[in-house]
Amino acid sequence: MNDFLDQIFVRAKQMLLSLLTGAPDWVIQLASSLINIFALLGVFLTLFALISVLERKILGRMQNRYGPNRVGPFGLFQPVADGIKMLIKEDIVPVRADKVVHFLAPIMIAATAILALGVIPYGRNMTPFAIDGGILFFFAVGSTTELAVFMAGWGSNNKFSMLGAMRAIAQMISYELPLIITTFPVVMVVGALSPDAIVAAQGGYALGAVPHWFVTTPWGAAAFILFFVSGLVESNRTPFDVPEGESEIVAGHMTEYSGFKYATFFMAEYFGMFAISGLAVTLFLGGWHAPIAGLQFIPSYVWFFAKLSALLFVYIWVRGTLPRTRVDQIMNFAWKFMLPMAFTCIVAAAVWHYQGRGPAGWFWSLGVIMVVYLALSRLIDTRKKFATRTYRFAE
């Protein structure tokens, strides 16, 4: 029974494919890929619709107001209304815009965001596209987002768009480093770049209760926090949303987009958020494994999406809590704190590994991280930075 529920989607796909028995090989391959793609799009578009209304609801709750409550029960049909509104809005393209680039930018940004979702294991035997270098694929695809953002900024031929794109690319390049380096310890400890192998390595429980997730080790916890913060920056979320800071540069690289193109950008941002959170779950939170051995009867994909939702809630929580940071603060934080700490995680993971992966390794790696953390906070003490402010260009 458990196994049946756990593998129900895999079975359903096999049943669909069995309709094609006798067809040439490439037809079956194509059909298999298409089923994966449609399932992926269906699930994540639904999740996008849900999270867009839930985010407004949760933010409303945090700010002591109601949030959307007019359309349908509890405002649940709000995304439908939003979608229809976005579809029938006029699509405005600036006269002096670079028409082709302006048109292609939202398509490219959405495509990269969706591609990155393809390599994450959503459940037992439920990786849409299992490739050997899945983690590498994720980041390779993610790195092309910068080009798409540039296309949006440059194609609009607007100073706000260009400034927003510059800011976005600057922070994305800076935070890509800690983001990628914090995955190194996991890859090194597992010895594989495939997400399935990484999830498989986190199976099993110590003492029957503590899961073997990497977040339970000191280096894993530190790397997870760093990864999460970098993910916030990569998906341009508050408090790191300077690229679209409304009070400064209208809407950044999305200024000249309207109607459904704007909605596409919005969707890509959320898809990027899902992808980063999904990878964080895969790398550090044990993927689709249950947190306690006794709870393994619940299907694997339920656990994955429960963890994903928890992370998404933290995203919304952070957005409802923190104000926007300054550009220079973001950059200083990236290069002076995030990067050294990310390297420290590698060293701590090595210490953990060579101390036998047991309690001794646990304490030693905790020691390494604490020493570096304390030293770094001493070194980059920002208090002395706020003496007299000198203006270089605006005397």
Partner: protein, 160 residues
């Protein structure tokens, strides 16, 4: 299947490369160049060299293309105005193409049949990099660190 894929990718790559060479606006050319890089990465995938294909996307689309685009943007005022077609460029392109083809045809032992080696997995590349080629790897790391520090010093100079 793979022949059809080859033809599609080949058309895409060649069209993008041609566009990169002939489009009048510099930024358009740079963006088509990035598309050509993606096409080449797809070729690597088709040949089973997954790692090389991914690194191709990583380095060339993610870094080099962004670098080219920014270089154009920051150094040229007329990035948005179309350039005139230059016949000199055609001559140079044909010369380079001729030279390369000449070199390829002169290379002895270029058999058409693929050599019988086991599939190039990411794991094997990692093992070889960490054992046989560990010194070249360290040297590259050192050079890159030096470049990073040099860039930092160049930026810090301005603050005085």
């Amino acid at each position: 299947m793979s022949t059809a894929a080859f033809i599609v990718i080949a058309i895409l790559t060649l069209a993008a490369a041609l566009a990169a060479a002939s489009l009048p606006t510099l930024i358009h050319a740079a963006l088509s160049f990035a598309v050509a890089f993606v096409g080449i990465a797809a070729f690597f995938f088709l040949l089973g060299a997954e790692f090389v294909g991914l690194v191709q996307v990583f380095v060339y689309v993610g870094a080099v293309a962004v670098l080219i685009v920014f270089t154009i943007l920051l150094t040229r005022r007329d990035a948005a105005t179309p350039d005139k077609f230059k016949w000199g460029g055609v001559v140079i392109a044909i010369a380079v193409f001729g030279g390369l083809s000449w070199a390829i045809f002169l290379t002895p032992g270029l058999s058409i049949a693929p050599p019988q080696i086991e599939a190039l997995t990411v794991k094997r590349i990692g093992e070889v990099l960490m054992t046989d080629y560990v010194w070249p790897l360290q040297c590259v790391g050192l050079v890159l660190t030096a470049a990073l520090i040099g860039a930092l010093i160049l930026v810090m100079e301005e603050k005085r």
